[in-house]
Each structure stands twice: as structure tokens, then as C-alpha cells.
């Protein structure tokens, strides 16, 4: 599953970013990413939930049980202060990385 491991870093970043807009439950995050990227990003739901739990363990997101719009019990996640900082740092790194790659590609 080489694809999965490549996505692992990106999955964390994307989840952090999504949650920076406000708390959501797992399904909502999945739908949001899908709509936003028009399905380009093969964002595996499995990878998403693994990322969520990983991030929770590292105290970058905080999970808690709540009720969904349909009055069902769902687990909501929100960004913690530490998570916010981590998001900033990782986004920064990603941008620099992407810029470097673009640079190389544009070199012809």
C-alpha cells in the first residue's frame, strides 16, 4: 500500500486544515474534502479515520461524543491550540516543498 503511506503526511495536514474551520464529525470531513477537491484526491475514508485517531492521540485534535443533525450519536473533532500551531507549521513546510518542486519542474 505504497499509496497509503505517501498520503499519510498529507492526510494529517488536510484533516487539520478542514477542522480549522470548525468542529466536524468524521463523515462531514469526508464529504467536505470530496466536494472541495472534486474527487481528485483519492482520500480514502479509512485513511481519514486513521488520521483522525492518530491526530487525537497526539493531542492535535480533540474528540468528543455529540449528536448529529439527525439526532444520532457521532464523534466530533475539533482542533486544539497545539493542533493549530502544528497546522501552521506543516502548511508552511508543504508550501515550501511544493514551491521547490515547481521550481524544478519549471526549469525544464
Amino acid at each position: 500500500m505504497a499509496e497509503l503511506s505517501l498520503l499519510q503526511g498529507t492526510a494529517d495536514l488536510l484533516v487539520l486544515k478542514v477542522l480549522s474551520r470548525g468542529p466536524l464529525h468524521g463523515y462531514a470531513i469526508s464529504r467536505w474534502v470530496h466536494e472541495r477537491t472534486s474527487g481528485v484526491l483519492g482520500f480514502d475514508d479509512a485513511a481519514l479515520y486513521q488520521a483522525l485517531h492518530r491526530l487525537e492521540r497526539r493531542h492535535w485534535v480533540e474528540g468528543e461524543w455529540g449528536t448529529s443533525d439527525n439526532n444520532r450519536r457521532a464523534r466530533f473533532y475539533r482542533l486544539t491550540a497545539a493542533g493549530r500551531k502544528q497546522l501552521r507549521a506543516e502548511a508552511d513546510t508543504w508550501r515550501r516543498y511544493a514551491a521547490a518542486v515547481f521550481d524544478v519542474l519549471d526549469q525544464a
Binding site: G22, P23, H25, G26, Y27, S30, D44, D45, A46, A47, Y49, Q50, L52, H53, R54, E56, R57, E62, E64, W65, G66, T67, S68, N70, R72, R73, A74, R75, F76, R78
Partner: protein, 898 residues
């Protein structure tokens, strides 16, 4: 709907199964939601569900992964929660301790004293008993006893040839060495060792180098760090300097590191090491029977000690077979370790008193520690009563009892840790002082303590403090209330546990006082004993007398030549200007020289009396003129004379006790005794000797001994080759000493003679007793201080608790004396009980150590009375401040507060 709010209470921790259940529920929500959305798009329900599952991905793997992460999260949270609690407890503790400055100061003082004393003792024990010599792999070094502790040089050479079990063999002989420096002559302790000694030990010089088997020149010397500092004044050019040792120039080639003290017994400071002159033809090297060296060997890599012991026994048997005369008994050869307790196997005479001493100190310092802990425990318990309000509030707010207990234990731990730091510092100071005292003592034998509060001691201090914390903290912590009662919240009322707690506190203080009493009684007995010891008449006069030990080797001196030498020595020495008397003796009383004891028969009878009890007497072998030299009066008959020699009728002189015991009521002169077979190396006997004189009793082994029968035999008839020359000096001792040495050297240059003052040697034997009583006394006073602190604490809190009661009594007309009586009764009651219990234990204990006491009965009225008075004074002092506070209570204020 977002559920996040301020989290206030902690949830109980989830188990692994609960974590999995949560994950399942979460994933199920997702699948259901997706399926519903798909249905909304028109997909039939069954297909919707299937598609949702497909879209999700690997559900099983996700489930497992997420559950794993969840469990780790729980674990992490649990630790953080604990850390948070601990941090909060510690912060709270510090705040509380800072607020109660008085209590904290007292508690810290108590712990510092108690733990410090204990740690100092441990360092001492470590230095004396536990420490391994500073050599490479000390567990691979062994001492080899070829039949006896010492070996002769030829036997060493033979053993060294057997390399299958030993990778190296070395010998060592420690002896006083005359170090001549700028026309002054110092006596230092030197070790004559084989050339490969340092190789076998695996040590190197800190500066310069050590000699090895490659060095052909025997005129080399390696000095110790201590010697370089004290004798050579830390001379930076010390290497290459030439020192005259016993008149022979040796070149200094190296200085050893400070940690290296050689393989001698603890406390002995070796100043220098020089190689054996292998080319020497001196009899002490060539004589196979001259056992003068200690044999040390390093085990070969794969050899165990048992294998080495077996091999050594075989070699010993072979040597015994080859040289039956010289090597008798070699078949009983064995090996011993060099570190720790093993170092004492060879010298039991040193080991037993040392171990006994250490054991006693250990018991005492444990007592003191116990007193300190009891102190703290009672203080904490007393404070619990004052803190019940605080406890009740916390319980009402939801803290569990375990939380409370944990917080109380944290207090104890913090106190104990602080006490450990203070104690370590105190121990450090105490040990270095002791070190300085020992080094500065410069007695006949230079000593070095080398004890330090090192990592081991610190570890020990910490361990002790933790145990102490548990010991004194557990009682108060466990007495924490478990239920918040409304009554407790009201000021002025006592919780239901008050009664038990009070009793416990009082019991603890009583125990404390009892322990203190025991210590004080013991130290009192020791002090008095020491006092008496100084006044005890030894029965002889050691003043103005110089002594020197002589050893005549067998090859050079057989019995006739040995006796002839003795005669010539006495002749020459008596001729010296300034010498009033001179003589020889085998045993020097009250010193650490040997003793002799055997069974005799009375009047030609067997050596046992009619009841079958053996007639044991102490013995000494002397030359004529001995009694005059040491000023022991002759009460009947005559001294030995020139006529009492080999071949003449056997004679003996006895002391008064012996005369009284065996011939009560009649004259002992002219009676006969049957001497036992004393062995060929000690002169033939088994013969009958006639009593020709009776002398006054004098002390033999210790100052505290009861009079024992002693028989004196003439050297001329009972020859030994190991004697001590006694020279009574009239005038300048140094001048006479030099002349005596000169005369002896003239007679036989190989006689190495070291002259010391007899008073010094006798005083040396008293040092252990002196040290023991000082230490016991010191600890006793320490215990008294601690007990006083404890009493003060209890009295103070008792008064604080009874403020209301006392105020009301005042208001009702109680006088000063009534108040004082109320406060004092409790304190003195406890003291009386403690004293009684303490005495009940101390008296049998006193009987146990009776042998160490000189002229003092274990139930000594003076000591006991003094201790009782002291305890009363201590109690009065301790209760002074609380009593004054009680007297100053304003009844109006108390009534108003109601």
C-alpha cells in the same frame, strides 16, 4: 451541535474493549450516513450499504488501527493526569510547608540529624568493610594461605611456578621503614613487594611509573599519594628524588593515585612500596620456614576460586612432602578474597572487635533514626487534628480518600527528600571531620580513613529517607478521615477519630522517650566506664619506657645463639647512658601484641582439678629484670636470675591471684606446677617448674578485666624468637632511642628495630573504647534533642487544641498553678512512662555489654539517676513555651469566641 464545553470532571478511564466499542460506533455512524445519502440519491438500500462499505476502504484494518491509537491515547491521558496530580500535590505541599515555618524547620532539623547520622555510619562501614581495594577486578584477586596466613619466599617462588590457575602471583610484606630526610628520620609504613606486584594488581602510577618484573634494580620506590603530600611536601620534582630507606638510598620512580592504598587492612596507610631484592642472600629470603610474606594472586581468566583453592592445596601438599620440616601443615592451603569481609578472614583478632563496634553503632544510629521518625509521625498526627477542617472541605468537594492519602504521603516524601539532602551534607561534614581526626592521630601506626559520602552513601541516604517517609507518613496519612461529616466543618469540634489519634500520638512520644532513655543510659555507662578506665591502675608503670619488637629468624639463630643475642643486647643496652633498666618480654600487656594462655597442673597433678575443670592461666615469658623495668612489685620470693637457664631446674613466677587461687592460705613459694607441652618451636617442656616468686597483680589484656592468674616463665628456659625489648629511660628519650638502635645494628645489622613509647602503645589500645563512648554519647545527646523536639511538638499542639478548655477554666477561676499542672501532667506522665520502659530495656542491655565496661555495674545508680534528672529537665524545657502560652490565655477572648 457541538458538544464542547469546559471540562471539569475527569471521566473514568476506558478499557480496551470500550475503546473498540467506541471506534465501532463511530465507523458505523459513517457507513450509515453514507448509505442514507446514497439512498437519497436513489440507490436501493442493500446496494447503498454495500457501496458505502466499498467506498470506505479497509474497515477491519482501520478498526484495529484506530482502536490501537485509542488505547494509547487513554494510557497517555492516564499518565498526564497522574503527573498533574503529583505536581499539584507537591506544589500544595511546598506552600503548606512554607506557611508552617516552625513545624517545617523542626521537621527538617530532625530528619537531617537522623538521616545524617545514619548516612555517616554507612559511609564508615563502606570504607571499613565494604569497599574493594582500588585494583583491577578485585574479585579476581585472592589471598593464598599456604597452611598459614604468611608464606616464605622460597615457597612463593614454587607457587608462582604453577601458572595454570594464576595469571600472576605476588608477595607483600608490610613493616615500619625508617625514612631519612635531611638528617631527620621518620617512621613510615612501607610494603616490600615482589617486582611484578603492580602488574598482578593491575594498577598504574598516577605520576611517573611503577616497577615491574623487568626492573633489575631493587633500589626503586613508589610512594603513595598521601606520602607525597605529607612527607614529601607535594614536591613537583619528587620523581627521580633519592630517599634513604633504612639507610639504603632508593630512587622514587612513581606516585600512586590517591584512591590506591594497597591491600592492607582498613585504616592502615601504606606510604611506599619497594621491590624485594631477589639477589639478596639474607636468611629471611632464603629460609623456607621464614613465613613473612602475604601471598596474593590473580585468577587466570576462566578459573574459579574453588579450582584455585584445590590447585593450591595440591601444591601445598607437594611442598609439604618435599620439605617436611619447614613446610609442615602446608597441605591445608586455601584461598580467600581480598575485598570487603574477606579481607578479615586472615586476621580474626582485628575483625571481631571491629565488627562488634560497627554493629553497635549501627544499632544506635538506627535507634536515633527511629526516634526521628517517631518524632515526625507524632507531629504530623498532631497536625492532622488541626487540619481536619481542611480535610473535610476537600472531601466535600469530591476528592477521594485515596487522593487525600496520596497528598499526605507527598508531604512526607518532600520532607524526607529535603531531610536526605540535609542529612547528606551533615554526613559529609561528619565523615570528613572523622577523616581528619584519624589522619591527624599519627599514632604508632599511621592511619587513613578514606571514607567519603560517595554515590553509594547518597543512594543509601535516599533509600533510608524514603523508608523513613513511609514509616512516619503512613500513620498520619491513614488516619485521614474517609467521610466528610458536617460536624467536622464546624470549628472547635473534634472528629470521631480524635480519640484514637490522640492515643497514638501519645504512644509514639512515650516510645520515643523510651528509646532516648536507653541510649542515654548506655552512653552514660560508657562515659563512666571510660572515666574509670583512666583511673584504673594498670598494675605496672608504662611511663618513660621505650619498647621495640625483635624477631630472630630460625636459620640465623637457633636457641643457644638466640639466647646469647638476648644477653648481649641487654648488656649493651644497659650500658647506655640514660638507661636505668632493660629487659625482654614476650607479651606486652594492654597492647595489641599477642597473648598466651595454657593449662597447667598443680603440684605434679594433672592439668584438670577434681571437678574436671581445666586450670587455665595466662602466661608471659620474660628475662630477668623485667619486673623492675615495668615496676611491678615483687611480694614474695625472688626474680629470675642468671642461674635460671637451660639445663638448670625449671622455675616460674606467679602473680597474687594465681597464688591465692591454687594455694589459698599457704605460701606458694616452693610449690610446683606442671607445664604443658608447648611445642618444639616454643621450647620443650611438659616439665615441672618450681615457683620461686610472687608478684603483684597487673592488667594483662584489657583495663576492664577481672584479676586472672598469670604465670611468668624465664626466656632462657622457654625460648621464643619474637620478643619485645623494654627500656626504661632516665633522660632524653630520643637520644637514648638512637643509641639503642645503634647498638642493635652493631650487634646484627639485619635486626630492624622500631622504638616506640610504651604509653603510646597502651593508649592506642584504649582508642576504640574512647571512640565508642564518644560516639554513643554523641548519639545519645542527639536522641535527647530529638525527644525534646517531639515533646515540645506534642505539648504545643495539645495546648493549641485545648485553648478553649483552658480559657474556660481560667474564666471559672483556675489559678496559674492549676493551669501549669494541667499542661505539665500530661507531659511528665509521658516522660515517666517512657523512662520506666526505657530503663526496663536498658538494664538487660547493659548486662549484654558488660564486658566493655570498666569498673561500672550495668545497673549503675549514678548513671540512672542522672538520666532520669536529664529527662525531667528536657521535659520541663520542652514544655516551657507551651506552658507559658497556656498561662497567657485570655479567658475573655475565649468566651467571646463561643
Amino acid at each position: 451541535m457541538h458538544p464542547f464545553g469546559r471540562r471539569f470532571f475527569r471521566f473514568p478511564w476506558r478499557t480496551g474493549r470500550e475503546v473498540l466499542r467506541d471506534v465501532d460506533e463511530e465507523l458505523r455512524f459513517h457507513i450509515d450516513a453514507r448509505a442514507r445519502d446514497l439512498e437519497g440519491d436513489g440507490v436501493p438500500p442493500i446496494d447503498a450499504r454495500a457501496q458505502a462499505l466499498r467506498e470506505f476502504g479497509d474497515v477491519a484494518a482501520t478498526r484495529v488501527y484506530c482502536a490501537g491509537e485509542g488505547r494509547r491515547l487513554e494510557r497517555g491521558n492516564r499518565w498526564r493526569c497522574l503527573a498533574e496530580d503529583v505536581r499539584r500535590d507537591t506544589a500544595l505541599t511546598f506552600r503548606m510547608l512554607a506557611k508552617q515555618r516552625g513545624f517545617t524547620a523542626v521537621a527538617l532539623l530532625t530528619l537531617t540529624l537522623a538521616i545524617g547520622g545514619h548516612t555517616a555510619l554507612f559511609s564508615l562501614v563502606n570504607a571499613l568493610l565494604l569497599q574493594a581495594p582500588a585494583v583491577a577486578s578485585p574479585d579476581r584477586l585472592v589471598r593464598v594461605h599456604m597452611g598459614e596466613t604468611l608464606t616464605s619466599y622460597p615457597n612463593y617462588v614454587d607457587v608462582a611456578g604453577h601458572t595454570e590457575v594464576f595469571s600472576g602471583v605476588a608477595i607483600e610484606r608490610r613493616e615500619p621503614v625508617a625514612l631519612q630526610q635531611d638528617a631527620r628520620s621518620l617512621t613510615v609504613t612501607g610494603a616490600t613487594v615482589s617486582a611484578g606486584y603492580f602488574d598482578v594488581l593491575g594498577v598504574r602510577a598516577a605520576r611517573g611509573r611503577v616497577f615491574t618484573s623487568a626492573d633489575r634494580d631493587p633500589r626503586l620506590v613508589v610512594v603513595s599519594d598521601r606520602c607525597w603530600r605529607t612527607r614529601l611536601a607535594e614536591d613537583p620534582q619528587a620523581i627521580g628524588r633519592v630517599l634513604a630507606l633504612d639507610g639504603i638510598p632508593h630512587q622514587v620512580i612513581g606516585i600512586m593515585p590517591p584512591a590506591f592504598r594497597g591491600l592492607g587492612p582498613p585504616l592502615l596507610a601504606i606510604d611506599l612500596w619497594r621491590p624485594v631484592d631477589e639477589a639478596s642472600t639474607a636468611p629471611e629470603l632464603r629460609d623456607r620456614a621464614a613465613s613473612r610474606f602475604e601471598l596474593v594472586a590473580r585468577l587466570a581468566p576462566t578459573i574459579t576460586r574453588d579450582q584455585a583453592a584445590a590447585a593450591v592445596a595440591v601444591v601445598g601438599a607437594q611442598l609439604e612432602g618435599a620439605y617436611p620440616g619447614d613446610n609442615r601443615g602446608l597441605a591445608q592451603s586455601s584461598v580467600f578474597g581480598v575485598a570487603g569481609f574477606d579481607a578479615f578472614r586472615g586476621s580474626a583478632s582485628l575483625a571481631v572487635p571491629l565488627l562488634a563496634f560497627v554493629a553497635v553503632l549501627g544499632v544506635i544510629s538506627t535507634f536515633v533514626l527511629a526516634v526521628g521518625c517517631l518524632n515526625l509521625s507524632s507531629m504530623l498526627l498532631a497536625r492532622m487534628t488541626a487540619r481536619r477542617q481542611e480535610m473535610a472541605v476537600r472531601l466535600a468537594l469530591g476528592a477521594g480518600r485515596s487522593r487525600l492519602v496520596r497528598q499526605l504521603l507527598t508531604e512526607s516524601l518532600v520532607l524526607a527528600a529535603a531531610g536526605a539532602c540535609g542529612g547528606a551534607l551533615l554526613a559529609s561534614w561528619a565523615v570528613s571531620s572523622l577523616d581528619a581526626v584519624v589522619t591527624g592521630m599519627d599514632a604508632a601506626v599511621p592511619m587513613q580513613l578514606d571514607a567519603a559520602v560517595d554515590a553509594r552513601a547518597l543512594g543509601y541516604a535516599l533509600a533510608v529517607s524514603m523508608c523513613a517517609a513511609l514509616a512516619f507518613g503512613i500513620a498520619p496519612a491513614l488516619s485521614a478521615p474517609s467521610v466528610a461529616l458536617g460536624a467536622s466543618l464546624r470549628a472547635g469540634s473534634d472528629g470521631p477519630l480524635r480519640w484514637t489519634r490522640r492515643r497514638l500520638v501519645r504512644a509514639l512520644v512515650v516510645a520515643q522517650l523510651a528509646v532516648c532513655t536507653i541510649l542515654l543510659v548506655c552512653s552514660g555507662l560508657f562515659f563512666r566506664s571510660l572515666d574509670r578506665a583512666r583511673a584504673v591502675d594498670p598494675g605496672f608503670d608504662p611511663s618513660s619506657t621505650l619498647v621495640a619488637n625483635l624477631y630472630l629468624n630460625e636459620r640465623q639463630y637457633d636457641e643457644p645463639r638466640g639466647l646469647a643475642l638476648y644477653d648481649r643486647v641487654l648488656e649493651r643496652v644497659r650500658a647506655i647512658e640514660g638507661v636505668s633498666h632493660a629487659s625482654f618480654a614476650f607479651v606486652v600487656p594492654l597492647t595489641l601484641s599477642g597473648r598466651e594462655e595454657f593449662e597447667i597442673g598443680i603440684d605434679r597433678q594433672a592439668s584438670a582439678d577434681s571437678n574436671g575443670k581445666a586450670r587455665r592461666v595466662l602466661a608471659n615469658r620474660i628475662s630477668p629484670g623485667y619486673f623492675e623495668t615495668v615496676r611491678v612489685p615483687l611480694v614474695a620470693g625472688r626474680d629470675f636470675g642468671k642461674g635460671d637457664r637451660a639445663g638448670a631446674p625449671e622455675v616460674a613466677i606467679i602473680n597474687e591471684t594465681m597464688a591465692r587461687r591454687f594455694w589459698p592460705g599457704s605460701d606458694a613459694i616452693g610449690r610446683t606446677i606442671r607445664l604443658p607441652e608447648l611445642g618444639p618451636s616454643r621450647g620443650a617442656s611438659g616439665e615441672v617448674a618450681q615457683v620461686v616468686g610472687v608478684v603483684r597483680d597487673s592488667k594483662y589484656a584489657t583495663l576492664g578485666e577481672s584479676p586472672s592468674p598469670v604465670v611468668y616463665l624465664p626466656l632462657a628456659q622457654q625460648f621464643v624468637r619474637d620478643v619485645t625489648l623494654h627500656v626504661r629511660v632516665r633522660g632524653d628519650e630520643a637520644v637514648v632511642a638512637a643509641q639503642v638502635r645503634a647498638e642493635l645494628t652493631r650487634l646484627d645489622p639485619l635486626l630492624t628495630v622500631e622504638l616506640a613509647r610504651l604509653t603510646d602503645k597502651v593508649a592506642f589500645a584504649l582508642i576504640p573504647a574512647r571512640v565508642a563512648s564518644a560516639l554513643t554519647g554523641g548519639f545519645g545527646l542527639l536522641a535527647a534533642a530529638l525527644a525534646a523536639i517531639g515533646l515540645y511538638g506534642v505539648a504545643a499542639f495539645s495546648v493549641a487544641q485545648r485553648l478553649r478548655e483552658l480559657g474556660i477554666r481560667r474564666a471559672l477561676g483556675a489559678q496559674n498553678s492549676d493551669i501549669v499542672r494541667l499542661v505539665a501532667r500530661q507531659a511528665f506522665g509521658m516522660t515517666a512512662t517512657g523512662l520506666a520502659i526505657g530503663l526496663a530495656i536498658a538494664t538487660p542491655a547493659g548486662y549484654a555489654v558488660q564486658s566493655l565496661l570498666v569498673g561500672v555495674a550495668p545497673f549503675d545508680p549514678l548513671t540512672i539517676t542522672s538520666v532520669a534528672v536529664m529527662m525531667v529537665l528536657v521535659t520541663a524545657l520542652a514544655t516551657a513555651v507551651p506552658t507559658r502560652r497556656a498561662l497567657r490565655i485570655d479567658p475573655m477572648q475565649t468566651l467571646r469566641a463561643e
